[in-house]
Amino acid sequence: MTVMKYSRIKTYINVLMTYFALASIGSVFAHHPIYGKFDPDESIQINGIVTKVDWRSPHIHVFVNVASGSDVVNWAVEMENPYILLANNWDDTSLQPGDAIAVSGIRARNGSRQLWGEDVRLADTGRAVYTVGDTEPQKPLAARPVPRWPDGTPALGAEPGSTGGVWSYPTSKALVEDGVDLAMDDYGQLANIADASKVAPMQDWALARYVHRQERFLQDDPMYLDCKPPGGPRQYQSDLGFQLIEDRKSARIFVLLGSGNRNYRIIYLDDRDQVGRVTGDDDNPLFYGRSVGAWEGDTLVVNTTGFNEGFWFTNGGLPHTNLLSMVEKFTRVSQDTMQYEVTINDPGAYTRPWTASWELSWVGGQELPYSLCQHNRQ
């Protein structure tokens, strides 16, 4: 009896040891840019029986038993993020153990029995499952007027007196200098790495580092590896959106982020200096920098300095240094559209200041998703 108790204790402890060890390193393997793991040039099709749906961030996995000669082998089909699938009306019961499915996708680079599922269909009906469509709300044919506060200042969030709503669906998912036309995916992965030097006016070392990250298919992105915040313009290039909460009494705007680790940034409108405060943000430099803003007509102009170098400030891996400062311009041109412009001035990484801009869409009544990068692989 005593021996059994000890054995049981030892088993529990070993399980705990394994759990803590895996939990501490698990995020290292979590990643969103899929081409670091899957090879887009290696198409593959499998047919089999679903054994389990593992519904967790950052990507779900559908496990499938596939006949292989006289044997049966198990494959893992990796697919989109649960939040995105939920937004497309799918859940963890959309496929059930025992369902026969046909999967087309791209195979893992390491040759293991894993694929990224691009097309998953029920074998008997041919019905596609876990499809992801464009859920961007339709804009009205005639632009609705900009909501304003009683003093006439544009409201950056919900119409005064109402609540809810997020900015999302950025028309650009990665920083590229305005006027440059090149192909890249939503993760900022260039279709042609030879285009790298066109993306922004980088110094030699910065260009080499950017190319290196691109050649590694963005697998080193610290936002996915280590939950580092999406500082800089990156916070406005996520489909998970953001909210601008105006605290007019305290002369500040809270930027609440739906991406990364779901934290916030403050833009001060009280003419303060951009210096650390002992009782506040004296830790420096910062992931979000120090932001001060002022209205110029209907445009909110925000100047930010004091960044650290512990994060990627855009999808795709453009480097920055602690010399980075940026000027952002937020112009709500209608109720449903925000124009965003950012001028990057980083003499540590770039040869001159440069500007990128894009638009965002208003999704009225919606709240930010509860999506935390800390959930990845937990």
Binding site: K10, W205, D226, W312, N322
Partner: protein, 129 residues
């Protein structure tokens, strides 16, 4: 038996501690790859000892820094970084270090190569902290 349980607990605690050590050690530095504090060895240095600490910074146009601050206080006179192969040459106090950045995208990247100078010559390896 108490000792055995303690032993197992200790092993578990050690594993957790090691895991957290490594995750704490992964403080990213995503800017200029030479910036930061580096610790390692220049093997066989009869003048300054084998332990070496290098601190480097980047001002947008040049790398500056110091070798063994607090003891030898050797200012770095020149640093050349070739981004094509990530080779680096560091000159300081009559010493020349020729090395290559390894594991560029890891926070704990390394500079590995050779050194020569008043204390002789030998292998050089420092790891960013």
């Amino acid at each position: 038996m108490f000792q055995r349980i303690c032993s197992v607990l200790l092993k578990g605690a050690s594993l957790v501690a090691v895991s957290y050590f490594f995750s704490a050690a992964t403080n990213a530095q995503e800017g200029h790859p030479l910036k930061g504090s580096w610790i390692g060895e220049w093997s066989g240095n009869s003048d300054l000892g084998e332990f070496v600490l290098v601190v480097m910074d980047w001002d947008g146009s040049a790398v500056s820094g110091m070798i063994n601050p607090g003891t030898d206080n050797m200012g770095i006179e020149n640093v050349d970084l070739n981004p094509e192969d990530w080779s680096v040459t560091i000159e300081s106090g009559g010493y020349t270090i020729e090395a290559v950045i390894e594991n560029l995208e890891l926070p704990s990247r390394a500079l590995v190569g050779t050194w020569r100078g008043p204390g002789g010559e030998g292998n050089f390896e420092i790891v960013r902290q």
